[in-house]
Amino acid sequence: MGDVVRKTIRPFRALRFLGRKPHTVRIPHEQHNDIEGEPLPTGRYRGIHVNDWDLCISCGLCAMACPCDAIEMIEVEGEGGKKRPEVSYGRCCFCGFCEDACPKKCMHLTSNHTMLDTDPRPFVFLPTPGIREFEKEYVVQTSKLCLVEERDGKKVVVQGKPRPRKQ
């Protein structure tokens, strides 16, 4: 008899789950938090690159350290012959070795993690400090990235600002 009662009651134990708050992260309405409620990703996250052109000495170590041949040093028009790293997100594996290799610590991987486009072209871009604008929303608008194009044998910036205006 007791067995029958137990068996009857047993399925209703599932009701206790009704009272629990689901742990689903409602993207994009909700921030992804860890178990203590701290927002993720943290500063250690290896996301989209930024590069401070005022500090960059064009040494090319980031390109040498890259395991994926993602970084190319290109000569941008108006930079006085200095070469700047151009990152291809068709290659990058977000290992962060370029950040480790950088002697001036100007190359940095931010915690911005989302970048998408219908066209593969904007995925090859010049990392600039402007990407920090998206620090809080974690999504990078590809229309604001710094892209170059080759015109008459020279690499010309066709989209985006290489440096933010100094205040």
């Binding site: 860890d34 178990i35 250690r44 395991p67 977000f94």
Partner: protein
Amino acid sequence: MGDDFRTTKIIFGPQHPGIHGNFAFRLELEGDIVRRARVVPGYLHRAFEKLMEQRTWMQNVALVPRICVPDPDVNEAAYSMAIEEIMGLEVPRRADHIRTVVLELSRIASHLMGLGGMGGAIGLYTLPMWTNGERDYILDLFEQLTGGRVYHIYTWPGGVRWDMPDNWPRKVNKVLDHIERQLPSYWSLFFESKVTDARMVGLAPYDPDWAIAHGVTGPNLRATGVKYDIRKDDPYAAYEDLDFEIPTRKSGDGMARALVRWDEVGQSIRIIRQALEQMPSGPYRAKTPPPLAFTVPPGDALARIESSKGEYNYYVVSKGGKYPHRVHVRGPSFTHGIDVLEQLLRGYEISDTALITATLDVCPPDIDR
């Protein structure tokens, strides 16, 4: 149709919901019963061993975790251990303890995913919903420690890449408490279910002699009662200092394989707690040459690691210089997923195919490399 009009030949996979990963079978059926099974691997072939010869020693650290996607840390650790042995590098104790914590967290994550896969294969979809949800908390921990959710690129020759954040051990303990609280519900959901009993007890059993003759390792071997674990018998990282048990089962069937994995989750929690408690202070990486000038003297070394799926071996040969001469990866699934699986599938119904694959915890990217 086969030649004798009694057997049917079917193509099972690679696009099939019952298959975890990109993997295929060619089955010869007689009615519902598998008479002959042939595994067709290679859909995930990326030529890792070739690519490693074209990259420098340190660049390879970014490459190796991709070999086994659900349990990536064993690859980084085994590769680093092999290089350390050739170079004669002494790894700081703190790095060893951090490695142990990372490896065990990775084992829990992989086992949770594997148990979820078994649940999915028998139609209990609640289990993967729950286990993958818990696994995500572990991925959050990895993200805070290593900066990556899935591919950590954290363990490297000479130690680990960064030190632990200050509040990280506390968070690990919280996540472990949370998982420990959840485990009883998994138990009653999965192991007390009659469906699980009916499907998994007596499923594809083997005895210890057969298992050893066929190269079965890891939890699949311990399910037959052989008390063997590389963590105890060929110790690495900090496992010598820690106290834990090797769970075994006797019957060697699908249920035993699932139960060994279940017990290992508990043991891993115990290991992590100890490792965090005994965490020594000091440096977290040894002095190594900078990544761009990293050279390894000529020599060869074999590093072995107990992963969540079985035995991982890295055989690294160096000729000196910036590039490895040869890196051979021996993954557990290379044995489990081809020869063993083909023989275990014989005589079972086609509906058991996915379940047997899941109980062996076969990882296709590790087969193909």
